[in-house]
Each structure stands twice: as structure tokens, then as C-alpha cells.
């Protein structure tokens, strides 16, 4: 039997998003090994913009003036999200050469069965990759972003266990959007994973560990 690669699975209860992003970047750039972080974010909402995102085009300035929240720029690519209570961030920090070619589409394709198996254990069947999102049916349940650095890459996902619809007013309808979204607004496009599983947040790490224990030494 081939030796399994070591994966360190870490659950971070209620870590704020800015601290989590700093930890992730440190693991990508300065720490050896393969990591999976599972973080249920605290209730305080925050807007998180990708590396090249233009806030003047992506954010509703009037909504932010009316109810200010932190706006954080992350080191990975991808779109703009509102995170807070109900968001579970899963971060895969993997050494180059460990699992797939270090290019965006290869990484995305590798993660699909990984998360499909993990969520299957939680009773969520049919989680799939569509364009660059995780969906159940035609509704988005998780958004992805990546950074590919010298020796490692990170693929992190904000899974929507729950969300507050009024927080979505911080975001404009993006000019570039996946074809499957069409012109749907946030409520018609997104779905809550918590409605398919159960309200508690303790399950993601346990589900991931159970699903992956055959391939990784956790």
C-alpha cells in the first residue's frame, strides 16, 4: 500500500476573517506541510474583496455608509463575498506536486470529489463544481479562491451554512458572472447548506476527517 501524505486538520472556532487570512498566507508562504483549516466565522459581517477587485465597481457605497462593516482585501483571487455568522471557511493549503498540477483549473477539478465526499457524509448529496462555484442543483453553496505561490497553493472556500439576506445589499450584481447564474439576484442564486444538514457548525471538520481518512493521514 502506498504511503499516505500527512494532512493537518485544524478547526478554528470563531476566528475573525482577517486573522484567518493572515494565518493562511503564513502557511502558504512560510510553513511546510499540508493543511486543512475549517473555520466557522464569528457573527460580525465583513466584506472580503479578491486581490484585483475594484471596490468602486463591486460594492454598494450607500449600503456601506448606512451600515459600515470592515472591507478586507485578501491575497487570493476571485470575487467579492460577505462573510459572517453562518459562513464556514474551508482552506486547503497543499504542497506543489502532492496531488495535482499547480494550475487553477487542475486544483479546482481535484477539489470537487474531495468536497463531494465530505458533504456526502453530512447528508448533502450532489455537491458539484459548476463554473468555479460549488453548487447543489443550480444554487451556489460555496465560493472559491486560490493563491499559487512558490512551493504551495491554497484553495479556500466560503461555504454558506447560513447567511443574512440584508448583508448581500453590500454587493452589486457583478458585471462578470457565471453563465449559470444568468441575472438572478442573491436570494435566487444562493442556497443555505444548513437547511440540508443541521444548524450546528461542529460537523464540517468531523465530516471532512471521516471522508478523507482513506487518502490522508490526518
Amino acid at each position: 500500500m502506498a504511503a499516505r501524505r500527512a494532512l493537518t486538520l485544524v478547526e478554528l472556532p470563531a476566528w475573525p476573517i482577517k486573522r484567518l487570512l493572515r494565518l493562511e498566507e503564513a502557511l502558504v508562504r512560510h510553513e511546510a506541510g499540508n493543511w486543512c483549516l475549517v473555520t466557522a466565522l464569528p457573527p460580525t459581517p465583513a466584506v472580503v474583496v479578491g486581490l484585483g477587485g475594484k471596490p468602486d465597481q463591486l460594492l454598494d457605497a450607500a449600503a456601506l455608509r448606512a451600515a459600515p462593516v470592515d472591507v478586507v482585501r485578501r491575497f487570493t483571487g476571485g470575487g467579492t463575498v460577505v462573510v459572517g455568522g453562518g459562513t464556514v471557511v474551508a482552506s486547503l493549503v497543499i504542497e506543489k506536486g502532492a496531488v495535482c498540477e499547480p494550475f487553477p483549473r487542475d486544483i479546482m477539478a481535484w477539489t470537487e470529489p474531495v468536497y463531494a465526499a465530505a458533504f456526502g457524509r453530512l447528508g448533502v448529496d450532489g455537491l458539484a463544481l459548476r463554473d468555479h462555484d460549488y453548487v447543489v442543483g443550480d444554487r451556489k453553496v460555496g465560493g472559491n479562491a486560490q493563491c499559487i505561490a512558490k512551493d504551495k497553493w491554497i484553495h479556500h472556500t466560503s461555504f454558506l451554512w447560513d447567511y443574512d439576506p440584508k448583508h448581500m445589499t453590500y454587493l452589486t450584481l457583478p458585471a462578470k458572472r457565471p453563465e449559470y447564474r444568468a441575472d438572478r439576484g442573491h436570494d435566487a442564486f444562493l442556497s443555505r447548506l444548513g437547511e440540508a444538514t443541521y444548524p450546528g457548525y461542529a460537523a464540517p471538520a468531523a465530516g471532512a476527517a471521516a471522508a478523507w481518512s482513506g487518502d490522508w493521514a490526518i
Partner: protein, 183 residues
């Protein structure tokens, strides 16, 4: 006197005839053609040319060199034009943002000098040689997808004043890079 001026160079063809016109009209010859032309030319060139050629570091100075991480540097004298290869641009997908240093910044071989964003991924780009940034391609700020449409032409990232031409040793030429991306 300019040892590199036309009268000191005569392009010699395999049949022994000299053809000055071919040299004057050639644009960016491939690395293999360049090496062939220079080897043949040295057989006839003035002593001053040979000395100048030796001082310049030889064949390194008229070629495109490639790093394993898919950056290239196109060398012209002391200046290197840096970007990512067509292979890398295709593998990354549609480029939506390019993060570049500023003129005057120092870059170090093997260290990140910027990043490209393609849809969901931010990918670091690494300096293939060390030196000072003397120009930045500002067209990429408004038109980052130039990287996809014209790799190795208009989509260069930065120009560097190379501080150590010896760092080009060990980099891949056209043929070796073509083999590298097949693997």
C-alpha cells in the same frame, strides 16, 4: 569605432557565400539561428568584434531564457524583458489583473516580484534574473488580457537592468523549454 556595426558582421551561409542583407533584415531570430549566425560570423569577423563579443558574455546576450516556473527573460544587452510564457498564460486561464512592481524597485532571482490573477486564482510570478526595474508595462493595468492574447510580444511585465548576467547560465533555451513543458 563600434565593433558591433554592420561592416564588422557578415552573415555566412552554409554554402560559403556572405549575405549582409539577411542579417540586417532579421527581426528576433530564434535562439538556434542566432547561435548559428554568430558562430559562422566569428570565423570572419574583425579582432575587435571578437573582443567585444567576449566582453559581452557571449551568446547569452541575444536569446530568450526560460525559468522552470514559466517566466521568460528576453535579453538585449544589459536589459531583460520579463513576462510569462504562452504555456503559463493558457494554463492560468483568462487573466483579469496583473500586480507589478514600480520602476526603481530591485528584484531578486527566484523571488516573487508580482502576481497575476486569473478568475479565481492569484499566482505569484518570480524574477528569472536579479536587477533594477527600469520599465513597467502599464498597458496591463487596463488590459490584463493582453497576457492571454500575445504572450512573448506586447504582454511583457517588466524590463530589468540585469545586475548579474551569470544568472542566465543554467536557464533553459527555446528547445529545452519546449521539452520541459512536454513533461
Amino acid at each position: 569605432a563600434n565593433p558591433w556595426s554592420d561592416e564588422n558582421f557578415v552573415l555566412s551561409r552554409a554554402d560559403g557565400r556572405a549575405d549582409r542583407t539577411a542579417w540586417a533584415e532579421s527581426a528576433w531570430p530564434s535562439s538556434t539561428q542566432t547561435k548559428t549566425m554568430l558562430r559562422l560570423t566569428l570565423q570572419r569577423s574583425a579582432p575587435a568584434c571578437r573582443a567585444a563579443f567576449a566582453r559581452s558574455g557571449g551568446l547569452r546576450c541575444l536569446a530568450t531564457h526560460y525559468a522552470e516556473s514559466h517566466e521568460y527573460v528576453k535579453v538585449d544587452g544589459e536589459t531583460g524583458t520579463v513576462g510569462i510564457t504562452d504555456y503559463a498564460a493558457n494554463a492560468l486561464g483568462d487573466i483579469v489583473f496583473v500586480d507589478l512592481p514600480e520602476v526603481g524597485d530591485e528584484v531578486e532571482k527566484g523571488e516573487s516580484f508580482g502576481a497575476v490573477e486569473s478568475v479565481k486564482a492569484a499566482s505569484d510570478v518570480y524574477a528569472p534574473v536579479s536587477g533594477e526595474v527600469v520599465a513597467v508595462n502599464e498597458a496591463l493595468e487596463d488590459t490584463p488580457d493582453l497576457v492571454n492574447s500575445s504572450a512573448l510580444e506586447d504582454d511583457w511585465f517588466i524590463k530589468i537592468k540585469i545586475s548579474d548576467a551569470g544568472e542566465l547560465d543554467g536557464m533553459m533555451g527555446d528547445d529545452a523549454y519546449a521539452e520541459h513543458i512536454k513533461e
